[in-house]
Amino acid sequence: MTILTRGPEAVKLPVPAPAVKKRGRWLTITLFLLPAFVLFLLLVVAPILVAGYSSAFRWNGFGGLPTNFIGFDNFTRLFGTEIFAQDLWHLLVLVLFSVCVQLPFSLAIAMLLNQRIRGRALYRVVFFAPYVLSEVITGVLFSLILSPGTGMANRLLSVFGIESEWLADPNTVMPSLFLVMTWKYFGFHMMIYLAGRQNIPNELIEAAQIDGASTWKTFRHITLPLLGPTIRISIFLSVIYTIQLFDLVWILTGGGPSHSSETMAVTMMEYGFKRSQVGYASAISVVMFVLSLVFALIYQRFVMRRDLEGATTNIGGRR
């Protein structure tokens, strides 16, 4: 990710302007940067700091800044609730599902559509299409399809003797949610993998095949390792997305039945907007923030490190 590739870029700076023009130069820099900087500071940085600040208060969100300081009470209360434990469990389940099922599936389809088969351009366009539909359209569509009475899913599966309440049954709600996520997002990961595959020189793969390697061995020992950086980034994106998952869950289940599909963002919105416990809800958002940050730092430090080195030397060479 870009955050990682800054250092060496600074090496080749544009030619410094003559000293006479120095004042005009600073004026240009300030005028050009200021609008973006102010907007970013006001609506991205400040709100996140405020979220951190208000998480230490009991606050209903009204009347200027919060005043009723309670320290870490919001956090101790949060960590003691069953709902929060469930939120974490759901996060873990969805991440595991994504990494072990959705991404390998996307990779397999990407490899399939990398073959010269007829109509592969059309397949790619169709498989990616759900990604451009909003979460709300996707969610409402699948809530109708999965609805127990009139829905298409039960009608279709009754042939195999399967029927379920899907979204209304705590046992099937998470698999159903995961199915909808796969429908919407696998095309995105497939496209990333296809792009990554196109960066691998075909000569390498042809050479392996001429040396007599089977298709599987070529994939296992040539393609897969070379796709490593792409795969690691798609895992990264998938985890960061899952930590803040909201729209789909809100539309499909609202977190129910009885919190069995709730995510942290849903819990936060419940407390922040429906129950006006803004301080407590802020504590939840701080946990989301810290989780994302810690995951990003650890992941980039230990998992994407190799890719980083590769990327930076590449950039140094290209520029």
Binding site: I3, V15, V132, I137, I145
Partner: protein, 280 residues
């Protein structure tokens, strides 16, 4: 021999097509179900979910198309998407220009502050943003959504544009300066026109992001007059809970702009997303 050599090559693609067809069916059946379902009567929907409608009921579609609220939501979504995109791209292009072509103390630090914005989940900021917009009287005002979306769109847009601006050779800039171009003149008349492909990519990303946004409009807009399409769909589902066919028709009509835009801008969208993910 020749025959034997050709035969496996032929049969080999058949399983591949079979897999692609199964996946294609998985993707398309829900959409086709919605499209056909919109033409059915509710009583038929449960008995005959897959087949063609016995009688094509067009009322579901025409009712939606004849309703003012659908078109109002369409207009609100379009207006907010366009305004967000213009604002994001304008501010990001100015900043990206400085980050790409000016050397000054603290530049990399400042740039890092922006790129760190990529790591901030939007959900973390939503409560303070709500309080902030309420303080400034920007609730139920499209500006509240536009400004916030632009602010969160800046990091990625700046990164992509900076990368592109860097790739334009310094000789062009020197020539322009010698010919008497001001910095803004160079930016406006030379750099921006040259960066058209990158501008197109970031614009497409901003439009799609804004069009599909749900969380922010959900908390900002309470009055029906300012609702965007996602809010309208959610409300429509609640209002016509038992009228499944009508909801399906609404969904299909709401899909049309997104899918049409995808058909037009597929290259830019996919290119932008994969570039953001693989090159970073």
């Amino acid at each position: 021999m020749i025959h034997r050599k050709k035969a496996p090559a032929r049969t080999n693609t058949l399983p591949m097509h079979a897999i692609a067809w199964v996946v294609g069916a998985f993707i398309l059946i829900p959409v086709i179900y919605a499209f056909l379902g919109g033409f059915k009567a509710n009583s038929e929907l449960s008995g005959n979910p897959f087949g063609l409608p016995e009688t094509w009921v067009t009322a579901n579609y025409t009712d939606v198309l004849g309703s003012g609220s659908f078109w109002l939501q369409m207009w609100n979504s379009t207006f907010i998407a366009v305004a967000t995109t213009v604002l994001t791209v304008a501010l990001a292009a100015l900043a990206g220009f400085i980050f790409a072509r000016y050397a000054f103390r603290g530049r990399e630090l400042l740039f890092t502050v922006f790129t760190a914005g990529l790591m901030f989940p939007f959900a973390v900021a939503i409560l303070p943003i709500f309080v902030l917009l309420r303080t400034f009287g920007l609730l139920d005002n499209p500006l509240g959504v536009i400004l916030t979306q632009a602010a969160f769109g800046l990091p990625l847009t700046i990164i992509i544009l900076r990368g592109f601006f860097r790739s334009i050779p310094g000789e062009i800039e020197e020539a322009a300066i010698i010919d008497g171009c001001t910095p803004f003149g160079f930016f406006w008349r030379i750099l921006l026109p040259m960066a058209r492909p990158a501008i197109a990519t970031v614009s497409v990303l901003a439009i799609v992001g804004s069009w599909n946004n749900f969380m922010l409009p959900l908390v900002v807009f309470s009055e029906e007059a300012s609702w965007t399409l996602p809010l309208g769909i959610q409300q429509f589902q609640g209002q016509y809970a038992s009228d499944t066919a009508r909801i399906l028709a609404y969904l299909v009509l709401a899909m049309v702009p997104a899918l049409g835009f995808y058909a037009l801008a597929e290259r830019h969208l996919v290119g932008g997303l994969t570039a953001g993910a693989t090159k970073g």
